[in-house]
Point group: D2
Chain length 311, copies 4
């Protein structure tokens, strides 16, 4: 396995280590200006980390040439009708859209295995779906009243000049944003609905936290069936048995962001109180929430060890 | 009005501005070692900012001498039975406990006016009760399923050596703690129950955020009666009409921590989505959540302008 | 004294408290689109907080109409030849430039008193000049080898979208920038040269610190005359005797940023070790380093108490 | 190579991953209570990360049994006379002290190779010595006036409850401390004196920065010989030629902390201005400044690839 092609929208071609000096002497691959044809001939598998709307223009060329595609944008995550509502544009690659497999390996491992096109999940959906799936699939919660209160570090919003992401605005501040209107909501609803076998509509509030990396989602689930923390934890342990990147906390212990930062783990803790299960999940938004999960998907597609290159 | 007595557990008496150099040249009052008798003779009104359990030993001496007491500890906030459960100690001043008025002026202004002893609220309860009271008193929400997801800066935990509060542990981290077991929970339940006229038991999850000051509480209320954001906002505007330190946001706008830091305001925004009202409140935990509210209570007791000395 | 005119480059006119909600209910003055004629007729004194190059186009209109001008840009701080070199543009108001008084009240109080036009100092120069002036004017240091190693919070760079100021780039990072090439260097050199009566060229390294507010400058001065810390402190105490906004630390104690944040103070500590005097000064870059000093200058010009409105 | 023994002063033995949950599933080795005899029989090489004064009691037992020792404390870095002055205690292992090799591989690679006992350098000395050594050994600077202005993240002070390291004190603050009195100063002076062949006494000011990891040292060197940036850079490139963990920046570019965090690199940039060379070096204080360098030393002693296990 080798990185044979690397490109970005830049003014002139230069080693990636000139952009990120921490890589100096370790990865000095030249970062080129984008040239899809060149890329198609160079690669067996491509990671597309393009903006929404742009990805669906590039992907078809790779797919046509039988290259495997792992797409980190939202372009292949939703039905085109839903996509249009949330991303404000007609879908331009309806032909390939049905082929896309949602790249959440803990749920769709088998489908990913044979996929040509993987839609790598969003960071919030990864943290929220993994926190809810076990109890939901057991049908022991009120599927009509699911609350996901998520807190994310700043890198979740990407790396770009933006006053609202500037240090002076974010530091010593805390806010929620796009309350129940975040573009990751339909993605969460879609997957949870598939698991439940009925339409699910979560209440989803994202918050911006003054830290670089990490998402902690606090999920409130109303239990239809009496159980204690131990019983709930057992359901999670069974559900994620054999999954290398999910760690379940026992005895009501709950994960912190620092437990997962710079790893590909999703750590989950559960605490039952009365008829409420409080489920807390943590991921690193740049790894399990993006690039790490993409590598995990590559490993599955390519038949590598699922944990290869990941910690 | 004048600060005539100032004390702390210190090794030797020195100007308060030696401890907090930012005060140099502005407030150089000598900070003494604690001497209750001296304090009793010196003051008309005392702010007790003592640890829980210690306050209830000091307060009676001031009350006996007809000094007004504003107590910032939890010692006079709960019935002694509940106190014992949550603070692990028998209450030592059951005589004065019934006299204590809960110092949340937006709810108990009249009672505070004539009080001898004010139990200044905790920071989380201030932010949560003010967010819930209007819809709860209108009886339009399901009082049996109230979720309060609160996020606090670090100063909420006090100023003391503690590994879990050290920079290296808090920075670039995020965690919840004492999930549904925080000692502020009975205080929230007590006041909300009084407002509702029935027993209320909130689900309360506090989170520790890497910032110095501020609390943002995201409260999820299930509406029993259909209403839109505008209708909900109207209920809050009416409820807090004439209250100088509550600002209601309109049109679904929601406050951020920076809007209230270094002020005594509690800012509240409401967004209705389906049958859920998401209410977001922000305070500065050191002001409206502690010292600022104590001054507000003093102003009310003493017949000063309620906003005197506060911004 | 009253704020009668307030403008900014904005899309539509709205209360300043809509832009900064923390001001809601306190300052709801309408923020207008800029109209110099309207401003000229409305005000007696104007604070110009415009970008460099823009200020020198606006100021003449106010001066012509006999309005007092306090300019927070760099446009009136340097001789036009030096200005051209450092700001890359021909000066457009050479007529008024000689009238400008450098608004560092601890040095130029008398001149400011009668000024029509005050060039409010930069934040770095304020912290550095005040740290050096006493020993320099006593002629006891080697004026040819002055090192100023300054550390600034992020707001020193202004409030604007800029990748290099984004949270993800600044947080958990530390860097120097524009090493010995910062545009504040000629301003420092000019004032120090005037004090010394000879040409001074400091070595000046600014650093960007992951915090919102504050500058700490560590200045290294080589003593030509033997003295101890006490003797050096005495020189500072004498030099700043009667100056309300400079606080000198004694016994080798040194100030921290937190001692001055949200105040207009410049705190200075001195420690002599061998033949080196290490001088540490702290200011809040937004107050003593900008707006606070501007108000201080207004107070002096207008004959108000120098500390009016400042803490 | 295998971790066979792991101990700490703890209440009960438990997996290291219970203390640092991020290690769960990766390193679950039991962390034992300290037992030197057990350790001696278990290991070939030991890393002692003990407090100063404690290390010199443990080390002799390992040395006697012919175990290799890499000591991360200061106990074997200084002559016992100097040690007594700076660490306030008589040295208890004068017998082994002369055997200790200072573990800065870029300077003492050959001596480390055959060492039984390595004194792993302090974090500040690593960053400062590497920044000065090339120009100093070329004899082109004034060795009598070296200024090192260092800025460190908080983890440099260790992991312990301490009010001055608490989030509320460090965040939004900046201070210098132990100015020219830091216990790392004699270590810097000792090594630089050895390089220069004459007594060196640096002026050293450490600063505490609100970030977790990283040290940036800004060093001011007065040139005795005219040279430009390019010439100075060449001296550094030659000096560190073949050293895998030093990266020299060219063209006056200077490193930032983010370039080295979570790596074992020391990045160095040089800018000459007039007769001053400003040298900026960055390290991660927990890696090149401590544990990483210890591993590097192990690799050298054990004959492994110098970069093994390090990035």
């Amino acid at each position: 396995m080798k990185v044979v092609y690397l490109s970005a929208v830049i003014d002139k071609e230069l080693p990636i280590s000139d952009i990120f000096p921490s890589l100096k002497g370790k990865i000095d691959t030249i970062c080129k200006k984008p040239d899809t044809d060149e890329a198609v001939s160079a690669v067996d598998l491509i990671f597309l980390a393009l903006p929404h709307r742009v990805s669906m223009e590039a992907a078809p060329k790779f797919l046509k040439a039988k290259r495997l595609v792992i797409d980190l944008s939202a372009d292949y995550r939703l039905h085109h009708d839903v996509y249009k509502v949330w991303y404000g544009a007609e879908h331009k690659d309806k032909a390939n859209l049905p082929k896309a497999v949602y790249g959440l390996p803990e749920i769709y491992h088998n489908a990913i295995k044979g996929a040509e096109l993987v839609a790598n999940p969003g960071c919030y959906p990864t943290s929220i779906i993994l926190a809810i799936a076990p109890l939901l699939s057991e049908m022991v919660i009120d599927a009509d009243y699911i609350i996901a209160d998520s807190k994310s570090g700043v890198t979740g919003a990407g790396r770009r000049p933006d006053l609202s992401l500037s240090f002076g605005e974010v530091n010593e501040n805390l806010k929620c944003y796009k309350v129940n209107e975040h573009q990751h909501k339909p993605e969460i609803n879609k997957i949870l609905s598939a698991i439940a076998g009925k339409g699910i509509d979560v209440v989803f509030t994202p918050h911006l936290i003054p830290m670089n990396r990490g998402i902690l989602s606090t999920v409130y689930l109303k239990l239809k069936k009496r159980m204690d923390t131990k019983g709930a934890v057992k359901i999670y342990q069974d559900f994620y048995d054999g999954k290398p990147f999910v760690r379940i906390y026992v005895d009501g212990k709950l994960p912190q962001v620092r437990d997962v930062v710079r790893t590909n783990f999703c750590d989950i803790g559960i605490k039952v109180t009365g008829d409420t299960a409080i489920v807390v999940s943590c991921i690193d938004n740049l790894l399990k929430g993006a690039a790490g999960q993409a590598v995990q998907n590559m490993n599955i597609i390519a038949g590598f060890e699922e944990t290869k290159g990941l910690v």
